[in-house]
């Protein structure tokens, strides 16, 4: 018996007011995959994540998550939205934010209980943020906030983790720590991460895909200049993989 695909997209098309955002997307994510999706801003990266979450219904094509339509699998998806999506002065503590991830388990009208608090503390421990549990969310640094939001995604014990531009707010010194955390997490779940930061993504992910309305997917993490150019519509920096990651700049 073959393992069930965690995510499966077949010929998915989405458009906003007639302008295509995603066109003919085919994608498979297996268990323990760590897939990085890169592409320019406005290339449909966030849209693709929202299709996987079931927040956007495609006009054409089929989406399944863990064998079911996305809205039925949502409790098994952990989602880390883009950093800028909330009010940083909001009067809420880190542990309260993390407990929001337990909503699906607690359900409507039932207050969070001791089990939920324990799960939140465990998730904060995993991301190394337990000491900051009582802090107001906006008092943390960008990297710490990102960890708190990953804890919120982990607290429901997901089988799929979706990250939208997770490194945008993380300073470069913290990025390696951050990717090491993801390395550990992929032992337990599939991870899909979108980013416009080509350098960072390609070093740590197992598989890479380029997205600009269409998806250029090729399983391995080797990117050819042709694929990058097709994605970005201009020559770009190309990263070569070796023992030490380094960049090769092609002629412009």
């Amino acid at each position: 018996m073959t393992a069930l695909d965690v995510v499966r997209l077949e010929d998915v098309c989405v458009s906003y007011d007639g302008t295509p955002a995603l066109e003919g997307i085919n994608l498979k994510v297996a268990e323990h995959d760590f897939l990085g999706i890169i592409g320019p801003n406005g290339g449909g990266k966030s849209t693709l994540l929202k299709v996987i979450l079931g927040l956007i219904k495609p006009e054409r094509g089929m989406v399944t998550v863990l064998g079911n339509p996305p809205d039925r699998s949502r409790t098994k998806i952990g989602y880390v939205p883009q950093y800028s999506n909330y009010d940083h002065n909001f009067p809420v503590s880190v542990i309260e934010v993390v407990m929001m991830g337990r909503y699906g388990k607690a359900g409507l009208l039932k207050p969070y209980g001791r089990v939920d608090r324990a799960a939140a503390q465990k998730a904060l421990t995993r991301v190394g943020m337990l000491d900051h549990a009582a802090a107001q969310i906006g008092q943390l640094s960008g990297g710490q906030q990102q960890r708190a939001f990953i804890a919120r995604a982990l607290v429901s014990e997901p089988q799929l983790l979706l990250l939208d531009e997770p490194t945008a707010s993380v300073d470069s010194a913290m990025q390696t720590d951050f990717y090491e955390l993801l390395e550990h997490l992929k032992e337990e779940m599939a991870i899909v991460m979108v980013s416009h930061d080509i350098g960072a993504v390609s070093v740590f992910v197992d598989k890479i895909a380029c997205l600009n309305v269409q998806l250029y997917y090729h399983g391995s993490r080797e990117i050819t200049p042709e694929i990058l150019e097709a994605t970005y519509k201009c020559p770009v920096q190309l990263i070569a993989h070796g023992d030490i990651p380094h960049r090769v700049l092609r002629e412009h």
Binding site: R74, Y79, N85, Y86, F90, Q136
Partner: protein
């Protein structure tokens, strides 16, 4: 001031102030953190249509206001969620339509409209006991909703998109929150008037936010500030013979601005690494 307590109208005024502070303190916190201040202002002004209807059909204008605020809250919620009409356009339309209807209804009602000014600008000294009972009932409903839906309203205010992801019925909860605002407007109308309601929904909560990062503490502080402003304003208006509703608002506005000024100065001192 103390001899004033022996009068029934003064006791009623204190009771009205107390009930109004509870509603505006708690719901005001959501209005501020969810950033629906203009939305709430629109709902408050639309209540004038109901007040006018009350005059025209000769029933309690406060009940008319309740019908109109609830209707406009639901309309507002549905229009902003289900159509592409920009939110601030919807706010403007509802705001003006409600007021216009009120003016027409009052014009149509025979004779002159007694104590119309008290609905527009509030008069805490003339709140009848039946309205106090209504205010108490609405306070109970609001408190029950906030306790029951605390975690839902927190998530709704903080990160709606994540609420959808974890399967929360965000649109229904948003409607419920707007209806709570509508009921709070009704509680406040007699105290500060429909035009100034928005101040009581904003000032105490905004001031409380200066002192805490905890939503529950913010609600409690905001209720306390609401009471201090109401009673302080009432006392000043009594001593200086000023309009009570406007005095309450002016007092709370001044304290809020003062608190912002102090915070701003402190921030500057800190930024300069100033005196220890």
């Amino acid at each position: 001031m103390f001899e004033a307590f022996q009068f029934e109208f003064m006791r009623n005024a204190m009771l009205a102030g107390l009930l109004a502070s509870v509603a505006c303190g708690i719901v005001g916190v959501y209005v501020v953190v969810k950033k629906i201040v203009s939305m709430s202002g629109s709902i408050a002004h639309a209540s004038f249509g109901g007040i006018g209807l009350g005059y025209l059909l000769k029933f309690n204008p406060v009940l008319g206001a309740m019908i109109f605020t609830l209707l406009s809250a639901v309309t507002m919620g549905l229009v902003t969620r289900r159509t592409k009409l920009p939110e601030d356009t919807a706010i403007g339309i509802l705001w003006a339509l409600g007021m216009a209807l009120g003016v027409i209804f009052i014009g149509l009602s025979a004779g002159y409209a007694p104590d119309l000014m008290s609905y527009l600008f509030g008069n805490i000294l003339t709140v009848p006991f039946t309205d106090i009972l209504l205010m108490a009932a609405l306070d109970v409903i609001i408190l029950t909703l906030v306790i029951a839906f605390y975690k839902e309203f927190l998530l709704l205010s903080f990160d709606e998109e994540f609420g959808i992801v974890v399967g929360m019925p965000v649109d229904a909860l948003y409607l419920l929150m707007l209806c709570m605002v509508a009921l709070t407007v009704v509680v406040l109308i007699r105290v500060v008037g429909m035009i100034l309601v928005i101040a009581m929904l904003t000032f105490p909560a905004a001031l409380a936010r200066q002192f805490t990062h905890d939503l529950k503490k913010m609600m409690m502080l905001s209720v306390v500030f609401g009471m201090l402003f109401t009673f302080g304003g009432l006392w000043i208006s009594y001593a200086l013979n000023l309009a009570s509703g406007a005095t309450i608002i002016l007092l709370s506005g001044l304290v809020l601005l003062l608190s912002y000024a102090v915070t701003g100065l402190r921030g500057k001192v800190k930024a300069r690494g100033g005196p220890a």
